[in-house]
Amino acid sequence: MLEIEIDGKKLTVPGGSTVMDAANSIGVHIPHFCYHKKLSIAANCRMCLVQVEKAPKPLPACATPVTDGMKVFTHSDQAVTAQKGVMEFLLINHPLDCPICDQGGECQLQDLAVGYGQSGSDYAEEKRVVANKDLGPLISTDMTRCIHCSRCVRFTEEIAGFQELGMANRGEFTEVMPFIGKTVNSEISGNVIDLCPVGALTSKPFRYTARTWELSRRKSVGAHDGLGSNLIVQVKNNKVMRVLPLENEAINECWLSDRDRYSYEALNSQERLTKPMIKQGGVWQEADWQTALEYVANGLKQVVAEHGKDSVAAVASANSTVEELFTLRKLMAGLGVEAVQAFARNADFSVKTQGAKWLGQSLEELSQNEAVLIVGSTVRKEQPLLAQRLRQAVKKGMALSLVNVHGDDLLTKLAGEVIVRPDQLLEGLLQVVKAVVELKSVAAPAGIDLANVVVSDAARAIANSFEGKAKAAVLLGNIAQTSARYAEIYAAAAALAALTGAKLGVPAVAANSVGAELIGADLGGNVFAAAKKAYVFVGVEPEFDAHNGSQALAAAKQAEMVVVMSAFQSCAMDYADVLLPISPFTETSGTFVNMEGKAQSFNGVVRPLGETRPAWKVFRVLGNVLGFNGFDYNSSEEIRDEALAGDTAARLNNTLTSAVAVSAKSAQGLVRLGEVPVYQGDAIVRRAPSLQATADAALATTVRLNAATIAKLGLVDGGKAIVKQGQGSAELTVKLDAGLLDDVVRVATSHPLTRDLGEMVGAVEVLKG
């Protein structure tokens, strides 16, 4: 520890601290622009110059290491003169037209200029004008305002993992720009907007729609992945105008994924369903809630009476709140219906664990692992901020490796990477199991037949990366979780974890996957395989949110009664009998349990649109209409307390209840690799126009194959191909993907263009289009 003095205050700080760290620790504010606690030190803006005793010149606080006995003066004449000098320089070429700048009112330059700027300028020369850049649909630029702090550049390189922005040219002519002809395509790109201290980078969808002081700031929780990012939702006139991260070091740090940042656009879309509707004689009619709910209650009662309780299934989105899933389940139980399924994207429901599946550790603990293996995951797109977290951990020494079905770049150093066909994910994982068995000279784990497994060098490298590591984890990604061989993969991963002393973790796909398991909203298996007579869909669109969209759609179409509860009108008009407008996460109070098992409750940030009602209130009324007991809740908190009663942490448990026999198989022929695209995961993001305009969204309209497969099939990169699976087909643009193995056909699922295709991984035919 070092003893120093700042502005006369004595303090001790750990060695290696900078003057800025030390000042921050006692709440002394030093003006700054380029400094950011999560980025490397650039020391280029010079705004933080302070006086240090015995130093002949003012020194930048952000870059000056503290030495024992140092005396710092942040407000002395020398310091303030230097700071004012820098401010003057920053302003000479900066437009002084804050009233027409989108950043006005939330600009660090504007704020500091009040304290350090002059009222007039001695700069009598022509000001610089800088051409704007096209950074894509999410970020808008006003480059003349750039103060060259390089925060955005450092973000892309250090946090996002790939330097999509750079500083071109020199001196006064320095400009921030993307690669020529390229945009910024990172899945966490929007963070540069928060980082930019001025109005050079602003949100494209939000731009010029409101002033910061007109907006109320309300807390919420991210609803599109299992991380549970904390949000500030900004609201004006009962409308969500913008979403920003709320800093929570344990979860999202100060970042936000683009998905959580821009999905709000859908909440204000024309496609919102705002009134209950009933189809009568094939014609849709608006109805009042009472009529609609009585219709639903009677209809469901009748189907159960006629066809039995197994003839009905409820399918909910795992982005539904604890309160919604719990009341849904209770309602179904009242009808005698068991099938309440929030995991319709899964194919194999035979994994039985002692508790709800979860990350197996906290996010912060995950970062501290020395070795982590991820099995089957498009990590950056599934869990953008988890990928970011792992990237930072790798820099601190974590050995990260992958058993995967494609070669997508995680933009970080890997200790090993085994790439297999999507129908061989288990076999890829078994290679690592066998490599560990050989390395440790131990017997194969019980129930796992390793006889036919050929171990690759990459698998050995992964096995080695676990050697001697006290803290390690094996994680199962979305591709593993939705695999038809999930149980075997799970058992193999559990065995690997046991062999290496690692924790087994399941990063939740959806905002409330863990909550759904805790509540038991994971029952009924594949509810579309044998079609039901009636379905209740809560926040799901079966054609997009089921493992096999065409199968789900067919099941919905043949049902006698389909109740659709959704925030949006949709193609459910074709097969539904009743449409009930329910609140998206911004219009209801509720709770999500994130992947680390942490329950986060939130309030609605705006009033429900039109006659929209929170789903839990709808179930409450339905329960009462049906005369069931226990539906007299006064608030969502009451439901939550009942749903999550007791020690929920104790109910998280990834241990298998019984052994699963695991054996390797071989596979050949063209095989589909179907992933859920980053902006197709749920009904909200599917309707967010700016996200749909991104390069990632465009990628979902392609069929990706490696060069050998393109050649073998007589296709051309950029040309058209017809992909056939089961009865369905899709015409898509061919795109070369060098990271795929031969015969792998990478075609998105959950997408309008591929709706008629079948299961996510399965045999396909490909013809020239």
Binding site: A42, K57, H148, F173
Partner: protein, 428 residues
Amino acid sequence: MTVYVKGVVFENVNFEDPNCWRLEEYVKRGGYAALKKIINDKITQDDIIADMKTSGLRGRGGAGFPTGLKWSFMPRSFPGQKYLVCNTDEGEPGTFKDLDIMVYNPHALIEGMIIGGYAMGITVGYNYIHGEVFEAYQRFEEALEEARAAGFLGDNILGSDFCFQLHGHHGYGAYICGEETALLESLEGKKGQPRFKPPFPASYGLYGKPTTINNTETFASVPYIIREGGQKFLELGKPNNGGTKLFSVSGHVNRPGNYEIPLGTPFSELLEMCGGMRDGKKLKAVIPGGSSAPVLPADVMMQCTMDYDSIAKAGSMLGSGAVIVMDETVCMVSALERLSYFYHEESCGQCTPCREGTGWLYRVVHRIANGEGRPEDLDLLSRVGDNIAGRTICALGDAAVFPVRGMLKHFRHEFEDLINKAQKAKGL
């Protein structure tokens, strides 16, 4: 033109001989004897560094930092790669000495670097060569081949355990890449921008490894020091200003060129060697150490001797040894306009005061030079300069301000005259 008067870098070099740079000729002049002595007599690293300290050799790149001291900072037992880097980026206006070393005596530099590698336990070196001198780069590559073939360079030098690999690197011609940390960035394949110091290259240099960087002339002086002893080198010059130095004399003299002379030689003698003033004009002023050095008026300069201390006492710096001589016909406003344009153009743009301030300085001087000056402009220049100097990441910010300060200190009246004329023309 290159003139050897007395010294260590061009000793016995016959500039007329097109083969004077070749290894064979270099060896005839006593080249590689120092290296042989070290290897054969198993001279210790400590002894070499001690000799370097005795020599009083100060860095010839501009800052004049004692070379022996710099070499002693190198962590000698560091586990892992360390690097030795030669700075041949030579971009300071007025300086053209390193180019001549590369052209006429490249083996002196190569031998100096090998010795440096030996003394600091470094096995890999780079020579970063200015982008616009392609011939020098090619010649250096040829010289490296000769040294490798002769067993002076590469693995097991002269049969010993000592290995040293040396590579030439052709830059792209940016002045800022002569700043040592920008040079390292550029060498790593990145944009040439200075790094904030600390950490200094001795602890965090090329690829983050301990690195020593010296100027071409600095390295080229090393073989003599080792061969003849530090004391002998020191005595060539004067105390605290040991040895001899190359001065690149340009401007209004009859014979501009590089002159190798002892430090401490009176400026008046150097002027004579250059054949005196061109066309018999009167000496007006001299920039004694490259474009960053403040200008000195004739009378002050004629009292100076050419060494670090004397020039510093007169209020300027010896810098890289570029002596820019100006006669009575020179308009100092135009001269400053050109200098300020250079710094404005060459700023890397990283830090605010230099990025914004160099352009401001240039525009104001440009206005004055073009009859648009205003009475408040001179105070403005001083104020803007004060806000740049000492507030930037690297010394380019200071370098941009020193010429302005020098000119305003000694030739303020010329600026005032132009401004007054401009005011009158406007009827003010």
